[in-house]
Every structure is written in structure tokens, then in C-alpha cells.
């Protein structure tokens, strides 16, 4: 029996409530330490400026810490087990400490597959990260699998 309902399909292309983050030096350093990346541009202002940035820059996947806001209508999730399927990123402008980034996500694709784990529901979301200049800094297309 298909798990995808018309109620789920009606949520495709609806934006989440926008949420704005200030990009903090401490958060960047903590993220860089967590991923084990000692590149000085993530830790030291002078090193970052020497590399052509305005200040400490965030590692590319720091975007993962900028969690989108709530969905306006919660997705009626039929499963409780979750796996990350993968991500596709485009990086248009670096995120620099002090930047303000507004994050909006939307469901863009919904499909199901039969696999080793039974019925698996795939949700593809597109997350847009816009900086304080109104320019798109990055986009992430991310696939969540539940089963």
C-alpha cells in the first residue's frame, strides 16, 4: 500500500517559516573543531583576511548547523526511523563571521521505494541560505529517508 498521501503531496513547495542566524565566530570555531579541520581561516581573523576573506569564514558544510525553521504544516510522518540520503550543495558566497543568514526550506520531491528496510519514504528538500545583502549565499538539496 502506498504511504504517500495527497495530504503529503499538498506540502510540496511550501516554504518553512524563515529563520535568521547571526554567523558567530565561536560557532564557526566549534564546528571546525568538531569536523577536525585545523585550517586557520576557520579559526583566525588574520589568516582569513590573508586568504581574501573579510574575517573568519565558515567551513562549507557549516550550513548544516543553520537548521531551517518549522514547517507551517507539519509533515504527517508515517515512520520513526530516519537516515540521511545525501546532500547537494552550491556555494555562491562564503559565510563570514558577523553575516546574517536567512534560511528557508521547502519540500521539492517526495517518493517511495521498496528496499531491504521495507518501504522507504524519500523527502527531498531544497534549503536556501540568503545573506544580509539579499543575495543567495548557498543552496542545499538534501534527501531524508524514513522507514
Amino acid at each position: 500500500m502506498p504511504v504517500i498521501t495527497s495530504e503529503m503531496r499538498a506540502l510540496i513547495h511550501l516554504d518553512t517559516v524563515p529563520v535568521t542566524y547571526e554567523i558567530e565566530k565561536g560557532a564557526i570555531r566549534k564546528f571546525a573543531r568538531a569536523i577536525g579541520d585545523a585550517n586557520p581561516i576557520y579559526h583566525d581573523d588574520d589568516a582569513a583576511r590573508g586568504a581574501g576573506y573579510r574575517g573568519i569564514v565558515a567551513p562549507p558544510t557549516f550550513l548544516r548547523s543553520l537548521v531551517p525553521g518549522p514547517e507551517r504544516t507539519p509533515f504527517p510522518e508515517p515512520f520513526d526511523r530516519i537516515l540521511d540520503g545525501g546532500s547537494q550543495y552550491t556555494f555562491d558566497e562564503p559565510l563570514i563571521a558577523g553575516d546574517r543568514v536567512t534560511v528557508v526550506s521547502k519540500l521539492v520531491e517526495l517518493f517511495e521505494k521498496q528496499g531491504r528496510l521495507g518501504t522507504m519514504l524519500f523527502k527531498v528538500r531544497e534549503i536556501r541560505y540568503q545573506n544580509q545583502h539579499g543575495r543567495l549565499a548557498a543552496t542545499q538539496r538534501t534527501t531524508t529517508i524514513t522507514y
Partner: protein, 148 residues
């Protein structure tokens, strides 16, 4: 951070290997990553939840593996390069304690306006040499490295 010479567009060759990066995430790193990325999915830190879901232990965050691949690329291209795009699929589960090797290979060179773009296939191999995490990436590099 690159130990070798940063690539420039004129010199980089299709088929060339990206210098590999080895990582050995442990449970401590998974907890650090959970906190830093605000990802509290329990299969990454609660062994009971992970084993109930059929895993043999807690599992490495896919996004942490993406971070490793990004680091391999940014180490390679150095300060003058920029990561433009990256796509990573989490096909296989990885466990803490295993040695993960990030690898890459140049697949194409192209110009886009004034940018010199280099396309790569990228992937992570687990300790048994299996590819768990395939992907691709595009970096922008200088046309040539100025002679000092």
C-alpha cells in the same frame, strides 16, 4: 593547509588524483559534531537506538562525511581556490573507529565566464576499501600560480 602545491587551471590534468585525506572518527567526534551541527538524531550517539534500528553501533553522520570530503578539497585547492559545488550520497553506513579515506579525481576542466572550473569525482572508502560515500564536486582555481 594543503601540503602539496595548490592546483592551477593551466597545470591541472584530467585524471589527476586529489591528495587523499584520512579520518578516523570516534564516538567523541560524533558527539562533538552532533552539538556543533545541532543534529540530535539518536542513532549517532545512543547505541541502544542504533542497534534497535539494525546498526551494529552508533553510525557516523553523513554530513560529517561531507565535511571530510569538503576538507579534502579545500586542503587541495588552498587559499586561492573556492569550492563551488559538492554532491554526496550516503550509500553505505560508516561506524566510528573505522579509518575513512577521502579520495578524488579530476574529471573535467571548463571555463564559466571568468571562472576556471575543475570538476572532480569524490568518494570515501571505508577501512575495507569499500566506497560508502560517492559524490562529485566543482572547484574554482586560479588560471596560473604567480611566480614568486
Amino acid at each position: 593547509m594543503g601540503k602539496g602545491r595548490a592546483p592551477c587551471f593551466d597545470d591541472v590534468e584530467v585524471g589527476e588524483a586529489v591528495p587523499p585525506l584520512q579520518k578516523r572518527p570516534d564516538t567523541r567526534q560524533l558527539v562533538m559534531y552532533a552539538g556543533a551541527s545541532d543534529d540530535y538524531v539518536q542513532i549517532h550517539y545512543d547505541k541502544d537506538v542504533a542497534t534497535a534500528a539494525g546498526h551494529r553501533s552508533v553510525i557516523v553522520h553523513g554530513a560529517l562525511k561531507s565535511a571530510f570530503i569538503a576538507q579534502m578539497l579545500t586542503d587541495w585547492i588552498g587559499a586561492a581556490g573556492r569550492l563551488v559545488a559538492m554532491e554526496v550520497s550516503y550509500r553505505g553506513i560508516d561506524y566510528p573507529g573505522d579509518t575513512l579515506t577521502c579520495r578524488g579525481r579530476v574529471t573535467a576542466k571548463r571555463r564559466d565566464g571568468d571562472r576556471n572550473l575543475v570538476d572532480c569525482e569524490v568518494w570515501i572508502e571505508n577501512g575495507a576499501g569499500q566506497v560508502t560515500t560517492p559524490g562529485k564536486a566543482t572547484v574554482a582555481v586560479p588560471a596560473r600560480i604567480p611566480r614568486g
